[in-house]
Amino acid sequence: MAEPFIRIENLTKRFSISAGKRIRKTGFTAVNNVSLNIERGEVFGLVGESGCGKSTLSLLVLRLLEANGGAVYHGDTNILELPRRKMRRIRRDMQIVFQDPYDSLDPRFTLERIMNEPLQIHRWGTGAEREARIDELFAAVSLDKQQLKRYPHQLSGGQRQRLCIARSLALSPGFLVCDEAVSALDVSIQAQILNLLLDLKDEFGLTYLFISHNLAVVKFVSDRIGVMYFGKIVELADTDELFDNVLHPYTAALLSAVPDPDPFSEKKRDILPSGVPSLIDPPGGCAFHPRCKYAGERCARESPELRDAGRGHLVACHRLEC
């Protein structure tokens, strides 16, 4: 196996909040010791419910948020320790597409200025070369060149997301993080953007970290999938392996909870009780044990480590060992 394209080791992020009257700072761990590798040219899917830390992880990987511990290797350099100037160079190779198409474009910029910004920051090419580059990118995401003079609020949600993708590809990065990139779009537009992302991956040989709460979307897009719960990866495997041979009880519950658009399916509903525990006072041991029907005495005491259960199928659950 070649050197992994992105290697994440024990990445941790704690947030502190001064809760109301109490001066004493309480805090919580949003990302708790996460390790995973992303191979070049792969789509690594990261799925989990809101509050599980997947978006925080994406900001940490791009160092838009400073981590409290761990490392992120891009090739063989740990970008968390890079000085500012070198970091700026590395950023050309790692870009991000956000969820809300209305929030990720500066309302005061024309489309042309939006596309030019990355090129200006890195002083890329001359005026003519930049114009050509923008035309090429607009063609790649099938946006109409005449719209360059218009403002973001004059575009539809789908068009705006295409613009975000075009902007992120301006410096031909190798690695693209999609943080819920299609979640805010209507279903018919979502399909267009998903196909577009896959086409661009093949055309430019990109590597994706695709983050979403929608299991079906992640399954469709990803080659390998990590399931996150309460700041930790609880299960990680190749897509087919994961869905054919689910091991972790939480992933199983997630799978059964996804509403299946087929009235004939008699899918038995394995309904999880209550909700995600509060991050401020986390349950001891495995964070899922309060909701897990297999929870044993050990689960409440000791938090399980990710272990290989064969064929690269990693899972963090005591049930499999005993």
Partner: protein, 276 residues
């Protein structure tokens, strides 16, 4: 742009401000009197053909002093608000986006500034620096800074969290670039909305200072001073103060309406964007 012309607040407010500015600007054409010329025999004449707004206790033509006085009051008001706008917006945007110790310090300074009622602050600074035109910019400008600072800081904080700022940083944009390209252009519209009500506040401050006798020294007539001239004989010869006060009120009303018009025109854009 044409939408704003349909906004009635904007039109009425703009109209008032325009008319008064023209009057003040073309004062020499509108009156032949000399605002400083004392003419005791004709003191305190009621408004009449000769003196459309009567004369004050030194026999000076009130109408003439008012339109000349407008120059002082308006320049002071516009000057001091401009100072406050620039300082307040810059510091607010910086402190709202950068946060950390800079924000803590600036916020405390703002708390201190807010501890002084506007008029009190102008009074004390005016007395200390002396009330020349230049000093008035500071003594009225400084207490207005918190108005701009607070709005700029609040907006900068929310803009700082928006994805397009994160995207700019992800592209390698430095902190200064983000502030100049993204933070300030998105904070400015919010501060501009309160600019005209701030000008109204500045005119009020200058007039109150003048009324209390701490305005710009004689004989340059500012509206406040004219009001002060007339105050002692207010009950027998009210027109000096009445007309001066009316002009002050009308100008402030004009700027306030202008501000309302701007806010309505700008708000739907901001609110819908935020609500989406």
């Amino acid at each position: 742009m044409e939408a704003i012309l349909k906004n009635k607040f904007f039109v009425i407010g703009g109209g008032i401000v325009l008319i008064i500015s023209l009057l003040v600007l073309f004062a020499p054409l509108l009156t032949s009197y000399d605002y400083g010329a004392v003419d005791l025999p004709n003191k305190q004449l009621p408004p009449g053909a000769e003196h459309i707004m009567g004369t004050d206790l030194y026999g000076r033509d009130v109408w003439c002093r008012i339109i000349y006085g407008g120059r002082v009051s308006l320049t002071v008001a516009l000057g001091s608000t401009a100072v406050a706008l620039v300082v307040g917006t810059m510091l607010g945007a910086l402190s709202g986006y950068v946060r950390g110790t800079l924000d803590f310090v600036l916020d405390r300074v703002n708390d201190v500034l807010m501890a002084f009622p506007m008029l009190l602050f102008s009074l004390v600074i005016g007395v200390v620096l002396g009330s020349s035109m230049k000093n008035m910019f500071l003594s009225i400008g400084i207490p207005i800074i918190p108005m701009f600072y607070r709005i700029a800081r609040a907006t900068a904080m929310s803009v700082g969290g928006r994805s397009y700022v994160l995207a700019a940083r992800a592209m390698g944009g430095g902190r200064m670039r983000v502030i100049l390209r993204h933070i300030i252009p998105n904070v400015l519209p919010h501060t501009l909305v309160i600019l005209s009500s701030a000008i109204g506040g500045a005119i009020l401050a200058e007039a109150s200072l003048g009324f209390l006798g701490f305005g710009i020294p004689q004989p340059t007539p500012s509206w406040g001073l004219i009001a002060n001239d007339g105050k002692t004989y207010m009950f027998s010869h009210p027109w000096t103060t009445a007309f001066a006060g009316a002009f002050i009120a009308l100008t402030i009303l004009g700027f306030n309406l202008l501000g309302d018009g701007l806010r309505d025109w700008l708000d739907p854009k901001i609110r819908t964007a935020a609500k989406r």
